[in-house]
């Protein structure tokens, strides 16, 4: 399932030298801004009004201002930053959900993004059906999901509930199911956004053990507010502040810099 995906505004010639193949993700000079409507400019009426009055109807808000970094294959990278610093936007650009305004993102390999757990989950469907649906969203075929199915159910500890509709699950069970799909889905690159804190203490311990086992084998990008997780799991970390990289490198130093933001 290897594929090379190019998400860019400027097409580059696909040069894959051997030095480059060790790089899983390369982000260069990525900019992104959003046009936020000043007044509700959703309807036709408002659009016409704004046009007539010469109002633009939006203010431009720069979220990312030139982000550069690389992730090597097998590296566990942490991304930290305050709320609104641009972490999630960056993650969405990496996942191909947003298009960068300027700059280039190169992905080598199959990227499995978890911006949110349980994307496409439907409460009217059973646990089993939801696993396959969620798998399809992430790009896995039924045959591939067949292989992962037992492992997912076992990790989620929900084998007795797979034929129940999702609406009859407790919220903890729903999250456990979603999380198990997330970590069992086999992609070359795993992207996780603030999803570590799920389930009860025992389940969290299990997740932590799993993450520890991924170190050095799986390429992971983890966005989190927990400096404990950064120190424990990450090989390298990035601190983003106001759309720019403020600090990059050793997880310990980055975690300190993050904690220093409030001092």
């Amino acid at each position: 399932m290897k594929q090379k995906k190019m998400l860019n505004s400027k097409k580059s010639a696909g040069n894959t030298s051997s030095a480059e193949t060790a790089v899983a993700i390369s982000v260069s000079n990525v900019h992104k801004s959003f046009k936020l409507p000043t007044e509700r400019a959703w309807g036709l009426k408002q659009a016409i009004f704004n046009r007539l009055r010469g109002v633009k109807g939006y203010t431009e808000y720069k979220v990312l201002k030139g982000i550069n970094f690389e992730v090597k294959k097998g590296e566990f990278l942490g991304i930290v930053g305050r709320n609104g610093s641009g972490k999630s936007t960056l993650l969405k650009i990496l996942s191909g959900i947003y298009t960068p305004e300027k700059g280039r993102v190169t992905i080598n390999g199959n990227l499995v993004p978890f911006i949110e757990l349980g994307v496409g989950f439907n409460f009217e469907l059973t646990g089993r059906e939801n696993i396959y649906l969620n798998g399809a969203m992430l790009g896995f075929s039924n045959a591939e999901m067949d292989e992962m199915y037992d492992e997912i159910v076992e990790f989620a500890e929900l084998s007795d509930f797979m034929d129940q509709k999702l609406k009859n699950y407790s919220s903890g069970m729903q999250v456990r199911l979603a999380f198990s799909i997330a970590i069992r889905a086999r992609g070359d690159i795993l992207i996780l956004d603030e999803v570590l804190a799920v389930g009860d203490a025992a389940f969290q311990q299990k997740c932590n053990d799993y993450f520890a086992s991924l170190r050095g084998e799986q390429t992971v990008i983890l966005v989190t507010h927990s400096m404990g997780n950064v120190r424990e799991f990450c090989d390298r970390a990035i601190l983003i502040e106001d759309g720019k990289i403020l600090k990059e490198g050793d997880p310990e130093e980055v975690a300190e810099a993050y904690e220093g933001l409030w001092k």
């Binding site: 036709l44 659009a47 298009t99 496409g120 439907n122 399809a136 969203m137 039924n142």
Partner: protein, 270 residues
């Protein structure tokens, strides 16, 4: 979007799963379940049959009028359902589009595919009615598929175009619903086109330039009775004859260009 990549493995899986889920959810929680997909058109047909053969006798001159009428109604319902669902598709699947990257046309195609499945069931019911009515099966029935494809492509093009506009201007879906009410009466579905021809031939010709009217009459011609008046029979200028087809192609081309341009920004605009 390179040609061989459009229907790659992942897109096929996603399309299948989304369509399956749509269809599954539609009849979930009802006692009769999927049977409703069949019962609904049957009951609708019974009502229409009674109204238009006992009360308004529009079709006295037309052979197999009941089947003739049902064919028109079913084609119209298919067009309505696929465009309405398709226009809502992108906004309706906003939760997905904001959280995962996939080709956005899949949600539109999946919404219209659900309508297509319903149409296939309806068509089956029509064929049963046609046989009961004494219409002999013939090879001409296969030609019907060509016109169904034409109607589907028109619906898909409109759904993609209007669905993409609907992301920014939510008024579109309301405008479309009202507009469709008007268009319904411009198509000879519940009245025969001969009614219009008797009063004003030019008007009848203009009405028959509508691709939906063209498809409805062509399907009736091949499936029910050779007495159905087609665009082809009414208009003799070749340039004018192909207007409905040209319209469909123009809609498809404009829709795909616009959709490709806008779909990059759906995630941030929804």
């Amino acid at each position: 979007m390179k040609m061989p990549k459009i229907l790659n493995h992942r897109n096929r899986v996603l399309l299948k799963e989304l369509t399956k889920t749509d269809f599954k959810l539609r009849y979930q929680g009802s006692v009769l379940g999927y049977l409703w997909a069949l019962l609904k058109p049957l009951m609708l047909f019974a009502i229409l049959y009674f109204v238009f053969t006992q009360v308004f006798r529009f079709g006295d001159g037309i052979p197999h009028y009941a089947v003739y009428l049902l064919t028109g109604v079913v084609l119209w319902n298919f067009f309505m359902e696929s465009t309405n669902q398709g226009i809502q598709a992108i906004v309706g699947r906003g939760d997905l589009i904001r959280k995962i990257s996939f080709p956005k046309w899949i949600v539109v195609v999946s919404a219209t595919a659900t309508a297509l499945i319903n149409f296939a069931i309806n068509l089956g019911v029509i064929i049963i009615f046609a046989l009961l009515n004494g219409i002999m099966p013939n090879l001409g029935w296969l030609i019907v598929l060509v016109f169904v494809a034409e109607l589907y492509l028109l619906s898909l093009g409109l759904a993609m175009l209007l669905g993409a506009i609907n992301v920014k201007f939510r008024d579109i879906s309301s405008i479309w619903e009202v507009l469709m009410q008007a268009v319904f009466y411009m198509i000879p579905i519940i009245y025969p086109i001969s009614f219009v021809m008797e009063k004003n031939v030019l008007l009848a010709k203009i009405l028959m330039l509508n691709p939906i009217a063209q498809v409805v009459q062509d399907v009736r011609y091949w499936l029910v009775t050779k007495e159905a008046v087609r665009t082809w029979d009414l208009i003799h200028n070749f340039g004018l004859r192909i207007i409905p087809l040209v319209f469909v192609i123009v809609v498809l081309v404009v829709a795909s260009i616009y959709f490709r341009k806008r779909s990059k920004y759906f995630a941030e605009e929804i």
